[in-house]
Symmetry: C2
Subunit: 330 residues, 2 copies
């Protein structure tokens, strides 16, 4: 492959002039520019950006740590990150960590070893699994309250509280919960929202009504058996993800219960598929794309040495009412 040296020889100009013609054409005479371009054309020269990066000590690459790439919510968020990155001339390296700490560390080390300039973490921060060390430029996206680094997210407590309040307003009093894993901070925040809404309505919290899932279809499907078997069944189900809500609906139907006829069901996220489930899901929409965009903007500020105005950016969520819920009638 042709190098800048070849272009220099071909054009009869020095390496320095060729370099300038490429990166700062205004520093070079018309005549030289023409010669250089001719030589580049002839030799099919492409600059070795790997060398350039090394020389400039800038990689123009960021890493996004994704717990699970097959999660549609993350996919949408990443689109937002990529849009901003492309506009800024950055590449996005996707690190599919599968919630595995050692895989996560491997990707973080891309920044340590100067193969990337910074990273966006999509896993919510928790005391047991912390974010990368403070000397790494990082932003947390779609996380939870109490994240130590810069972060962009919705108010999970408020959002859960709002959708549960909606169920309460519809007359439901016994509301079951299919939560995420207990050690996932989102589960904690969203359960808090549930409790808050209950408390505001003067209804006691009943541990029996909370079943732990893991955000997947299957876990929602599975959790529902518990509720079906209860002598005093809840009349509504608050699921902490759309996938679990869709799984739960399937489980209910198999037990010959109709949704929302016999039980109202709500989700969380508003995935594309949630409008096509039967019935279409009532859920909370997170502004996934915007969260990604904002997180990318913050990271680029950090990389460029600016200090973002706020430490924490809370974006608005939206309650989406479809047909998986209805007023309680005894």
């Amino acid at each position: 492959m042709a190098t800048i040296r070849d272009v220099s020889k071909e054009s009869g100009l020095s390496i320095a002039t060729v370099s300038r013609a490429i990166s700062n054409p205004e520093m070079v005479s018309e005549e030289s520019l023409r010669k250089v371009n001719l030589a580049i054309e002839k030799l099919q020269y492409r600059p070795n950006l790997s060398s350039q990066k090394f020389r400039l000590q800038r990689t123009n690459t960021i890493v996004v740590l994704v717990p699970n790439i097959a999660n549609l919510f993350f996919a949408q968020l990443i689109s937002g990150v990529e849009d901003v990155a492309i506009r800024k001339g950055y590449n996005v390296l996707l690190g599919d960590t599968r919630d595995n700490v050692s895989r996560e560390e491997e990707f973080i080390s891309l920044v340590d070893t100067r193969q990337a300039d910074g990273l966006i973490q999509l896993r919510p921060n928790s005391p047991t699994k912390m974010l990368p060390s403070a000397n790494i430029k990082a932003v947390n996206a779609a996380g939870c309250s109490g994240t130590p680094s810069y972060s962009v997210r919705i108010d999970n407590i408020e959002a859960s509280s709002k959708i549960v309040k909606y169920l309460l307003d519809q007359g439901h009093q016994r509301i079951g919960v299919i939560s995420g894993l207990g050690d996932n901070p989102h589960s904690v925040d969203r359960l808090q929202g549930y409790k808050n809404a209950l408390a505001a309505a003067g209804i006691g919290y009943d541990e029996e009504l909370v079943i732990e899932g893991d955000f997947t279809f299957w876990s929602g499907y599975n959790a529902v058996r518990h509720f079906v078997a209860m002598p005093n069944r809840p009349t509504a189900l608050f699921c902490m993800s759309d996938e679990m809500a869709i799984g739960a609906i399937k489980g209910l139907k198999e037990s010959a219960l109709s949704v929302p006829g016999d039980m109202s069901v709500t989700g969380f996220d508003d995935l594309a598929v949630s409008n096509y489930s039967d019935p279409p899901l009532t859920t909370v929409r997170q502004p996934a794309t915007q969260i990604g965009e904002k997180a990318a903007e913050l990271l680029f500020q950090l990389i460029e040495g600016e200090a973002p105005k706020l430490k924490e950016y809370i974006l608005p969520f939206e309650l989406i009412i479809r047909e998986s819920t209805r007023p309680y009638s005894c």
Copy 2:
């Protein structure tokens, strides 16, 4: 940040010895190794891999070109690529091209500019939109017949033919089709499979029964109106993606048609959600993860200068029979 020179000074050994202690410890005395490790520890040294890559003219990075990152089938395939890549010490750069040629070119240029060693293309090859030029190391995954480069895929014609034959065996004679975009080679191959199955059963091909979608939920939902309005409605629907099948089912239900009671519906891909749709989808399972793994293996062979045995690897698909289909009863 500490460099190899700092470690050299700290340990009292030459840069060359430090370099060897890191990459080829067996070339160095116990004593020196100890000194070097001590210095590394003390200085918190991390080698600059950007420099290393440049020096070795190897990036240990591959690019995967994805038409749409929010497509679950691709997400699963990418997991397979990543598994193999990590094992080989490679990073995977994800290029979300959104079926946009200029975005695709930008990502391909990562290889031209030596920021990546090769690429995996997930977009099916078509005469109008060709693969990257032949001097780039590339493998096509989940593509279609007639791909000029190395490729890994299922036999789309055979798979479609098989699922349509299944419908025919169930007694269906008028089978509607919701295809992908007409210029997508998958649409062409899968339509061919449909025609083959019809021909084998001695049934004529009726253009009226084919509606073009674009593989999304919405397009399936929308296409169904055409069939519902027909005086002589088909009794089964062959959809070229699971997403379209799920959209179609929603559309049929809204027209007060039951699935499979009034119409059988089949999908293509076998997404995770397809087992949770109502009714669960009869579909074709593509071995997404294995396609990704195999494609990655081929690419690494190319990068390492070996010639893969075959040009084209055809992996087996699987007919998944669930509850969205049933025998035709007049």
